[in-house]
Symmetry: C2
Subunit: 304 residues, 2 copies
């Protein structure tokens, strides 16, 4: 690829990421507008967690994948926000004292620190339900088959066969020696399932049968793992200011990670290989896949 | 109604409740079968909470309301189980140390006492996602409009406009003097929204537009409030063995209830009035509504 093309794509990623972030913030600001009744602390806690932070990787992936099939960007954004609602709920519950007991998230106080533990449980539960409300709303897609398929796969990605199951594996792994296949499986459930869904959702909106979605899910699976390895490398490097959250926690908790198993150099090589494979999965597409390619490269080139 | 008819209906309620309970247990046993991997503690915690306990009021209501429209009982049961999954998740999270800090639920140790707090958070989250997976599954209903409408209304009933919002109101009410309208609103969200949905779901499966569902929602709203008043009366009476959980907690927490505001006698009268109104809402139906009538009467006649 000539250098000017790479530069253009890099700039496009920055501007698209900024645009999607702003739209996600706008969506949550409208969805979580003040209630004027005694539920207000719950809504305030949700706004604290959902607005103004994070890389918005999942909505960006849905928007980028939707370009492949010329899906209406408004629809892609609504589905992306539903996925982000699931992601944010999982962060709130993950940060609870009985889980990671985190003080800081996305550079701000965690929800239970700022609003109380009971409020944090309820804010997570509320965002979880809202995600399904967004997806099942006829405004998201006029075809009820698409809506119910989007719900079905989102529930699978979020539940005990996906994210929540991966979190249980993570709990069970504390103080035990996991090998590479076990860590890979854990991460594919804990973070991979929802990232895969972010891309698969575009295929569902494009009314593709499950078997045709395979390369797109393959792209997402590779990007998800590459992102996780990059996260482990950032945690390992220990730069808290850049990460926006405490680092070195995995080593402290005695948890095996890609970095502890492979060492930083081989972990970095593995992440690069996954990115190449991800890009290979979407090789049949032309320039409409440039944003997906840029996201894949960003997965390993970022430092936070 | 002649005495023999009342007896027949009473016996029918007992046998239907037992049948639905057994079918709900069977459904969850299949859904939550052992995984054979490190997610097993999560599944064990879900089975502990979801199998073998409770009155199964919500699935029973869905099954009973589905009779009005001759809906396939298998479908009604699946939707009832999804609602029960939401109910069970809310009990698990409600019992957490940061919420009610309960030791006992349905006569057994609460999930966090038996399996740990992090596992309880994840078991609740998992059942929450599974509820939507059940409803969106084509096995539940062949019409995708019905499925996506079932999801939409379930998400509204469970989320911050419904159950989770009511739980926030309940938190905010501690140490404050609520009046009767405020308590009624709190309960309509906290427990009423899901009970209303249990009946509305039958209307959705019957493809009725929202405006035709009003009397059925009215029935459910009245039954839900009557149930809540009966719960308050049981809590007030202090019979822990019959209740299967600690009683007197509301008075201890300084929380206003229907009983603390009205006194036990007027509360009992109010519950009876609500039951009469509930039965009035379904007066247009013949014997196919007998089970709904029996459930309404049971709401106030029970002692646990």
């Amino acid at each position: 690829m000539p250098i000017e093309t790479i530069d253009r794509v890099g700039t496009e990623l920055d501007s698209e990421a900024a645009r999607v972030s702003a739209e996600v913030d706008g969506f949550f600001s409208r969805l979580l507008a003040p209630t004027g009744d005694s539920r207000e602390p719950l809504y305030e806690a949700m706004r604290h967690a959902a607005i103004g932070g994070g890389k918005r990787l999942r909505p960006l992936l849905t928007v980028a994948a939707s370009r492949l099939f010329a899906i209406d960007p408004e629809r892609a954004l609504r589905v992306g926000c539903a996925i982000e609602a699931i992601h944010v709920y999982s962060l709130i519950h993950d940060d609870l004292p009985c889980m990671d007991d985190a003080e800081l998230r996305r550079g701000k106080a965690t929800v239970h620190r700022a609003f109380g533990e009971a409020e944090a449980v309820l804010a997570g539960d509320s965002l979880h339900a809202l995600a399904f409300e967004i997806v099942a709303d006829p405004e998201t897609h006029e075809d009820p088959w698409v809506r119910s398929d989007l719900v079905l796969e989102l529930a699978r990605a979020a539940g005990p066969s996906g994210m929540a199951g991966g979190q249980m594996m993570d709990l069970a792994a504390e103080g035990r020696e996991l090998d590479l296949p076990a860590i890979t499986r854990l991460q594919q459930l804990k973070t991979g399932a929802l990232i895969e869904y972010a891309v698969e959702a575009a295929c569902i909106m494009n009314k593709m049968p499950a078997e045709s979605r395979t390369p797109y899910r393959g792209y997402a699976r590779n990007v998800g793992l590459a992102f996780q390895i990059a996260d482990d490398l950032i945690d390992h490097s220990g730069d808290e200011a850049a990460a926006g959250k405490p680092t070195g926690r995995d080593a402290h908790a005695g948890k095996a990670t890609f970095v502890s198993l492979l060492g930083p150099d081989r972990a970095r090589q593995q992440a690069s290989l996954l990115v190449s494979q991800a890009i290979e999965h979407i090789a049949a597409h032309g320039s409409e896949a440039d944003l997906l390619r840029a996201i894949a490269r960003f997965a390993v080139e970022r430092d936070r």
